[in-house]
């Protein structure tokens, strides 16, 4: 297939590489120049503008946040103006539910199609085509994108026919991960102050009831207090908690644990943790307990 791909960050480069490996033709664009070099060597076509990347059947966006996406969507050179009728915009970034709803309307008014397909997985998973893809939108449009999803991920879940449903599921998933980080942070502060070895404790947890990747991955980071380099930086975690709370406000679902997480991230950022992995909020429980400065 002919694919346009906008956003060549740490996730995007791996995803494009896998599309190329699966013999798709990919026109790539990134705001900052030079990010496309390696991909062009692998066969991607460089684009000088957003509009140039919009001449394909499917345009995938993978940008850092809502604001970045909005800059490529609107305007004379933006997706809405540049995409041909009937073509599909697949937004794979973690954006807000409200923006996703607005995009659905805008694309429909322009005779275009829109699919939300955010992913679970860190950059290594993107590079290894091991992403989990959560898709929602028009069934036919999703079917059309299926070969692309298969090239980038290990499994695709279709969760609804309105695109924003995928964003809601994705955001709630990040909320669940953050809740594991907080819970482990408090638990390890407790048992650690009580003299228990944290690594042995984690081993016990993950070999019994808590034997899931989320406990192994984050439990290890927390036990080691290893928050640099950031696999997923604190400001992004904070952004997602804000998006979760915005969705909870719009749907009128009080979420006290999400509120607690929001305040934890805000504390981390206020105290200079911008550069740390989002799992660093776990250290705040230890700090409150007087275990570190």
């Amino acid at each position: 297939m002919d694919v346009g791909f906008i956003g060549l960050g740490r996730m995007g480069v791996g995803m494009v590489a896998n599309l190329l490996k699966a013999s798709h033709r990919v026109a790539v664009y990134n705001r900052t120049a030079g990010k496309d070099r390696t991909l062009v060597e692998q066969g991607a076509t460089p684009c000088a503008s957003v509009a140039a990347a919009c001449r394909s059947d499917v345009v995938i966006t993978m940008l850092a946040d809502d604001a970045a996406l909005e800059t490529v969507v609107h305007g004379e050179q933006g997706l809405i103006a540049a995409m041909r009728p009937g073509t599909v915009h697949v937004c794979m970034a973690t954006i807000g539910v409200a923006l996703s709803e607005r995009l659905a309307t805008l694309h429909a008014e322009a005779g275009q199609r829109y699919v939300a397909a955010p992913v679970f997985g860190r950059p290594e998973a993107a590079a290894a085509a091991l992403l989990f893809i959560v898709a929602a939108g028009d069934a036919e449009a999703i079917a059309a994108c299926r070969p692309l999803f298969d090239a980038m991920g290990q499994k695709t879940f279709v969760v609804g026919d309105r695109p924003h449903m995928a964003n809601l599921v994705k955001l709630s998933g990040n909320y669940l991960i953050a809740s594991v980080i907080e819970a482990l942070g408090e638990a390890m502060a407790l048992v650690g102050k009580g003299g228990i070895d944290k690594h042995q404790y984690l081993e016990l947890l993950t070999s019994t009831l808590f034997g899931a990747p989320v406990y192994k991955t984050y439990g290890g980071l927390i036990a080691n207090e290893q928050f640099e380099p950031a696999g997923f930086a604190a400001p992004l975690g904070y952004k997602d908690m804000r998006l979760v709370l915005e969705a909870s406000a719009d749907l009128r679902v009080p979420m006290p644990l999400a509120s607690l997480l929001r305040d934890r991230f805000l504390t981390l950022l206020a105290q200079g943790g911008e550069h740390l992995d989002w799992s660093a909020i776990s250290a705040l429980a230890a700090k409150d307990a007087g275990l570190k400065e």
Copy 2:
């Protein structure tokens, strides 16, 4: 080995049955008469008093809460008075850290030994000898009990040389389970109100990052809103959150998520949920969101 076993509740009967199967001689006592009938048929020796069950090398207690344990420990017929010097009291119930510390002192003063060995696992796991046992105390005493642990559980973790460390680990584990229940409750209220199918959502979670028994077991109960009959009743969950908070107070470790859980359990009990499974706190998020009365 000769074993005394006090406390024949839903957990205790399965544990004794497995001790008998492994050819240990078990003298059993329960406050309420008649609970020992089936076990006696299987070979257990019935005892008319606590003291009678204390004539063995090892006395295991498996009682509902701190208060119940204290009634069999003290007094003329209690464990402290009745156990012979050098014999071992193994407390396998989920009791408080502070009580466990007091028991260690009392037994030491009486020339007896004390091991804390609380378990993870519901009654079915107890019946199937699939418990996870968390032990702490004197290494030699634990070694002496090892054949018994092997008969009752699938794995034993030794977490420290002071008995109360095992209680701390066990309580923190129950806290982690409760935090999963709360997190899932809020997440399912959110996505459910957003139109997502809860079972499909759970399938997505458990086949990706959250593929652990705790998510499968409790996720299923929450998605089905099936809180009766109670596998582990709400008052017991509440009791454990209180014990966690007591330990957090004594160790001076603030735990805001544990405080949230405590208030959730209190709400559940205040609103008539005494008979429900502890996972019923998950329904409070849905209730707050106006999803049910």
Copy 3:
């Protein structure tokens, strides 16, 4: 002075009446027609458009929320386009800190002046010229408005030279009021369930350490469980908690109590409390305690 006044809600009508009493000439505009009738009888000049109300030296806006204000600010007939250079926009409504900062920039670019002057006081206080006015902005512009403030309020506090500082103070004040409502709600649920008479309890509080209007006013509403008619409706209280949290996010100040309040308002709205006074969040503690359905 010649004054334009936009927004004739329950607060606005009282404020305009007091300006007229003090012999100011007031040109009034309201989106919904007919609200100006009584005021016109008292001497106000009706305007057919926002622009018509912008021909004065000072234009006061008193609209329900950020969105309503934005609709009169922008566009060909809006304040920015219609106000003459050097004239002053005084926003007396409770708007967000971020919007206030944007308005400051927009008015400055248009050669106009901008003062934020939100008020404390319910409609009765507005009618009685007993408002407390919190003003911030250019000192000269505030001085120019002083006769107007004196006509509408009992006291004006100048809290800074950047307009948004007044909004921050006003929002924090509403947060403090809401925190009193929550604290009293929990306390009255506790003592009420313990058999104490709530009115006597309130009498005790307000005749000792808590003898302030906020405890008397809200304490009475809470003890009487009298939440209708709404003096200040729940959706407005919720809006303000959101604006407080937005300010706290922008300034990076974690506010766990504000988060708790936000979730309380969200619960109230999710459960059908849109029409109630914002003090109705106090009843949620009683509900959680099983005291009412």
Copy 4:
């Protein structure tokens, strides 16, 4: 009247002095010797034992906490054993609801009477006979103590016929004070980081809706960040939050704001704040916001 007075701490000395001024005969006892010297000069009779102080018609206790009270109540020389039938024990300290209920039972069984009469007021108020006294218990017993209350306080509130009701009211009052401290701490962190002068802010609050002693007293301490010397030390504030939460647990009234306060106090103590005034929890919001180390 003949009065026994046990507990000559900072509160007790002022209270006894006022009883003496009102011509009552006071037999005093304190565990630590020497505290009674000044009072003896003023006319008090020193006692060598608790029992010696129990020979009066009324025995007042004013001890630091539940544990201290229990040591003088029980035992051969304790109140229960030493008080004559029909005499009254008036506990004026802030003790737990559950202990107060137990004392009521014990005294009744011993044919004695028991009144709970905790006070609001710091040591200066005790010295100036300006305490507010909250009394509960048998009406006749309270009437008998009335002359004593009049000598020590400016006003007495009778809140119920069961003694523990007074303790519940007193504890809920301390909870309300702590909630003011927390709310002001968060608000001042917010407006302070936003560039507002904190003293001017406090002046605005206390001259408008928040003109009560509790805002003036604690607002001043918070704005000045003056937490030493402690008028009411952090460990005592923490103790009271625990007693509030125990009462909330026994009555099944979830109190999320009280839980937040409990965690704040725990954080303060874990970080070395034992010697500070309880209002120092207000500084934690500033710390979370990165305003101080």
